[in-house]
Symmetry: C2
Subunit: 384 residues, 2 copies
């Protein structure tokens, strides 16, 4: 198929910041792109060829949208998978596949998938209802502490809680969940794997993530991770195996723990461009967004190595501010060495909402890391 012609249409489910950054690349390649999104003032509103309003969880909205495109991809996992399955049967190329999304959307299924495929992950138990967890603790079938995770629709730290005492369960959703062993780890790592429809496969360098202790959101992403070469190789191998096990087409971001004794355990995956790969825009030979396009259009994959060291800082809404967003001191961070701000274009800020990110690149990674701290101290996402 000739992707570089107006006969071809690419569809994206979701119109947020990931879609927006993907659109820079559909524009670069002049690929005709349609976006389905529920919000009329989403970041993808402009820069696509067609913007369609519709609920991503609605069968008809997704199905009718998908029938108009040749290749369909996502920028968010929470979409109607039945519609994707119907579209696949009718010949639309859907990446990631509906089967993969169904597995990933449910954390219990996702964990079972790792076990079934001999992929390393922390031990866990599945529970149909929260109340079963209480019973299990009481009768000695489950030990404190553990990590509770809602099976459905966890995103950005929602749906995850460390449970140290029984009362920590109070107020949690009542539905299906898992209890995962609390793994003491040295590092949280991530590897993005790209695989195209022909099966060509490449990994990006391992990145290291530092989380904000309260918001449970990534604060810094550091590329490459400052870890031993052997650990890095192991992490990349695990990530490759996950992509292959899913027979995945497109990007797969694999988040992992490096344990105290240098084991690698899979935490979770995202079958799309990911927050842990934003620094690739400035630091890598091929940005994750261009790579995702190359993969789903079955084009040759680009180089995944880095030109320079990169650090990414998320710009999240400051606590205590809700309303029309203001990026305080953005001019000041632009004075710093190797700094590029990305403003997602969401009109309203609220505490911990992802409003943008900043990339800091430098031939010397430790210098980039220093500047990143200055960036973090200087810029503030508030409201007016």
């Amino acid at each position: 198929m000739n992707y570089f012609s107006s006969d071809f249409k690419l569809g994206i489910l979701g119109g947020g910041q990931l879609g927006k950054m993907l659109l820079y690349n559909t524009r670069k390649f002049d690929i005709y792109t349609c976006v389905l999104e529920a919000s009329d003032d989403a970041p993808c509103k402009i820069a696509c060829d067609e913007f369609h309003l519709g609920n991503l969880m609605d069968f008809d909205a997704v199905y009718n949208f998908g029938k108009q495109v040749d290749v369909l991809t996502i920028e968010i996992e929470n979409v109607n998978v039945d519609a994707l399955e119907a579209l696949e049967k009718e010949g639309v190329k859907v990446y990631p596949a509906s089967k993969t999304l169904r597995t990933i959307q449910n954390k219990a299924k996702q964990k079972l998938f790792y076990v079934d495929n001999d992929l390393p992950t922390a031990p866990f138990s599945r529970f149909a209802y929260l109340s079963e967890i209480e019973d299990a603790i009481k009768n000695g079938g489950l030990e404190l502490p553990f990590v509770w995770k809602a099976a459905q629709f966890g995103y950005d730290g929602n749906g995850v809680k460390v449970v140290r005492k029984l009362s920590d369960l109070d107020g949690l959703p009542k539905g299906e969940c898992i209890a995962e062993n609390l793994v003491p780890f040295k590092n949280e790592l991530a590897v993005i794997v790209a695989r195209n429809a022909s099966g060509d496969i490449k990994t990006y360098p391992v990145v290291e993530m530092e989380f904000h202790p309260e918001a449970n959101q990534v604060e810094y992403v550091i590329c490459p991770a400052r870890i031993d070469e052997t650990v890095a190789k192991k992490a990349q191998e695990v990530a490759l195996n996950v992509s292959k096990a899913f027979n995945h087409v497109g990007l797969l971001a694999v988040e992992m723990f490096q344990t105290q004794n240098d084991e690698i355990l899979i935490n979770e995956v995202a079958p799309r461009p990911h927050n842990s790969g934003h620094q690739t825009i400035e630091a890598s030979y091929t940005s994750q967004f261009e790579q995702h396009l190359r993969a789903i259009l079955d084009l040759p994959l680009g180089r995944t190595d880095s030109k320079v060291g990169g650090v990414m800082v998320n710009l999240v809404g400051a606590e205590g501010y809700t309303g029309n967003v203001v990026y305080q001191n953005i001019e000041n961070i632009m004075e710093m060495d190797g700094v590029t701000p990305h403003v997602y274009g969401k009109k309203q800020t609220r505490p911990f909402r992802k409003m943008g990110h900043v990339t800091i690149v430098n031939e010397d990674l430790s210098q980039a890391r220093k500047v990143a701290e200055d960036v973090k101290k200087t810029i503030k996402v508030i409201s007016k």
Copy 2:
């Protein structure tokens, strides 16, 4: 002024490929952007916030558009300068200034400007009419060979001709022109200078240009130029002086000749992002398009040095093909090392029309240059 708010509006005159690449960056910074352009299927049609149809040479079209924005810039020089002057008087920030554009639009004025400001350029004579050239040759006031240049509206090799015998003048436009000494040169070089409204100024590395012998269009741009450090410094100094002489705000691309005895002579300038800076997107810490935005919005300038070596190949329409464009073998070049194609999105190709460009980056510049040759041999812009 807060550029990162929806109260601010940036206007761009022209909706071609340069505007399109500028829009990647207005989107990245979420800067509200309006485009004025005569063609309804121009590359900038999407990705701006407002697309206005209008003739760039029409006073009313430019004036009425400019009244709606806070800062006005261009992606092409051929715009109505009287309208810009009127807008400046009414407080709109116009970069480049109308005065600068008036000088640059007329090649005779541009050359006189260099002379008046002690800036090095090839000797020349100005003629009000082509017929005066013939007279001058006949009465010995002008010697063959020389370079004829139309004073008005030269672009991409149009309006320039080497005159070796009298009959070479046949068929040339009758109006104002210059006759410039034919300078034997080693290299054609270019330097992009960025200067913001506060007067901060930076130069990009010197690039080297290879021209297509027939089309007189750039075939390869090589960054950095493979020249002596002393020559490079001289070229950067000349370029800085040109920007300062114009009191320029924004990017100024300065094209120069390196003569046989290593003199630097200014050929011509473009007061905007330029073909000689496309490789900055992939090769530099700050792309020329982001830098132009930083400059005209009076933000701090970004780093201008390179992460890696870069070579740029223009994708121009092949001879013998006119019609709906096809990028033959584009998949094959994407397999090559460090290759990124940029497809401008023009629907119709014709011989030598600029339809896109390809950037090749590599830590080893000579390797990038090799791949660039393969790219050039492989891809062909034809019609179906």
